[in-house]
Structures are given as structure tokens and as C-alpha cells.
Symmetry: C2
Subunit: 128 residues, 2 copies
């Protein structure tokens, strides 16, 4: 008795609850070429398990300030299949460099801010 993979799928309504994104945003991401859900017989969007991972990855890229246009480039390669693995790796390595620079900047900013806070504390203390 063969038992196919359960292949759980989600309507856009369910998918909004899973991802925390609004239906409008999901449709916007689709229009921008980030995600391509299947459609059912009534032309309704059908999201899969794989789409959850993909959206979560998109959200992480967005959290690190990657513009949609760039995420789209990655998405395009992804949907092209395994032949684009190297190209995608290159994009990820580029992003890795970017993100490490971001981290350095953030650390610099933390130092400056902590310094400023100390100056403020001293000024307030002195004034008493």
C-alpha cells in the first residue's frame, strides 16, 4: 500500500496566520516575484510547507535590510532549479559580507551611544 507524502497545503487566509503577513502583503510579494504559490481549480492561491520556510527566509533577509528587488533576484534563481546553486551561494556570500559590515557598524554605534549616555549621566550628576 503506497502512502503518498501528506502534502499539506494552506489557503491564503491560513497562511497569513502562519506567517504573520497580511493577505495584501502576500499578494504584493507575489506580484513582485518573491513567491509563486500554486492555484486550485477556483484560481485560489495554495501555499505549501516549503513556502513557509521560504517566507521565513525572506523575512530574515528583510530584517537585514535587503530590498525586495534583491530578494527577487534570489527568488528567480531558486525557482530556476538546481543549476543555479552556485549563483545563489554567491548571492548569499555577498549578503554575508554585507551583514558582517552591518554588525561592525552596529557595534560602533553602540560604543558611541554608550559614550553619549555616560556623558549625559555625568552632566546630570554634576548639575545636582
Amino acid at each position: 500500500m503506497s502512502r503518498g507524502v501528506s502534502s499539506v497545503v494552506y489557503s491564503i487566509g491560513t497562511f497569513t496566520k502562519i506567517t504573520g503577513l497580511s493577505a495584501d502583503t502576500l499578494r504584493y510579494y507575489e506580484k513582485e516575484g518573491l513567491i509563486f504559490p500554486e492555484r486550485d481549480l477556483n484560481n485560489r492561491r495554495v501555499y505549501s510547507e516549503k513556502d513557509i520556510d521560504w517566507i521565513e527566509f525572506i523575512l530574515r533577509l528583510k530584517e537585514t535590510a535587503m530590498p525586495i528587488s534583491q530578494i527577487k533576484a534570489y527568488a528567480r534563481l531558486r525557482y530556476e532549479g538546481d543549476s543555479t546553486l552556485e549563483k545563489r551561494l554567491d548571492l548569499l556570500l555577498d549578503h554575508q559580507r554585507f551583514i558582517y559590515k552591518e554588525k561592525e557598524k552596529l557595534e560602533q554605534n553602540i560604543l558611541h551611544l554608550n559614550n553619549k549616555i555616560n556623558i549625559y549621566k555625568e552632566a546630570i550628576e554634576e548639575r545636582r
Copy 2:
């Protein structure tokens, strides 16, 4: 013989070169209430040494994703004088908390990204 402080000042053109911001951006920041340069007899903007430090601070806040509206709140207090020191310190402490959360998120993202990169590398290696 008293000798006044040299009080170096800069035209908007010079100030663009110092700060790296365009004249339009500087005027925009002024319109948004971030900075208030003096004016000379011909109504031209006159930026001071202090404005350099202030712009540099603004840029650091911007680098850590603080919206102009929030920077404006700080600017307003700043231009009100020493009576607002505590309030400004509070804002800075809020921002400190925010920025530390950002750092944590960034570190999480780095872990995820490094992981993804390793998976890609393995997939490419395996395929050879």
C-alpha cells in the same frame, strides 16, 4: 586683550562637503525639525562646528534605523536646553535597548545565514 572664540562657520555648500549630505537633504532635515542653522544678513544658512557633531549623531541614529520623526523628538528637547537632559537621557536609554535587540536579531540572522551557506556548499560539493 580679549580674543573671542574663532567661531568657524560654513555655508550650505561647504557643509555638504563636510557631512556628505546634499543641500536638499540638509534643507529637508531643517524642514523636518532636525537642525536649525543660523542665517546671515542675506538669509543664507550658516552652519557651525556644533552642527557637525549634531549631524554626525543624526547619521548614527539613522544608521540604526531611527525614523526622522523620533530624531526630531530628540532634536526638539536638545534645542530646549539643559532642562531636558533627563528626558533626552531617557530617549537614549530607550534607543540603547532597541539597538541591543537589533544586535541580537542580527546575530541570529548571521547564524541562520551561515547555516544556509553551509548547506549550499554541501549540496554543491555532493553534486560533483
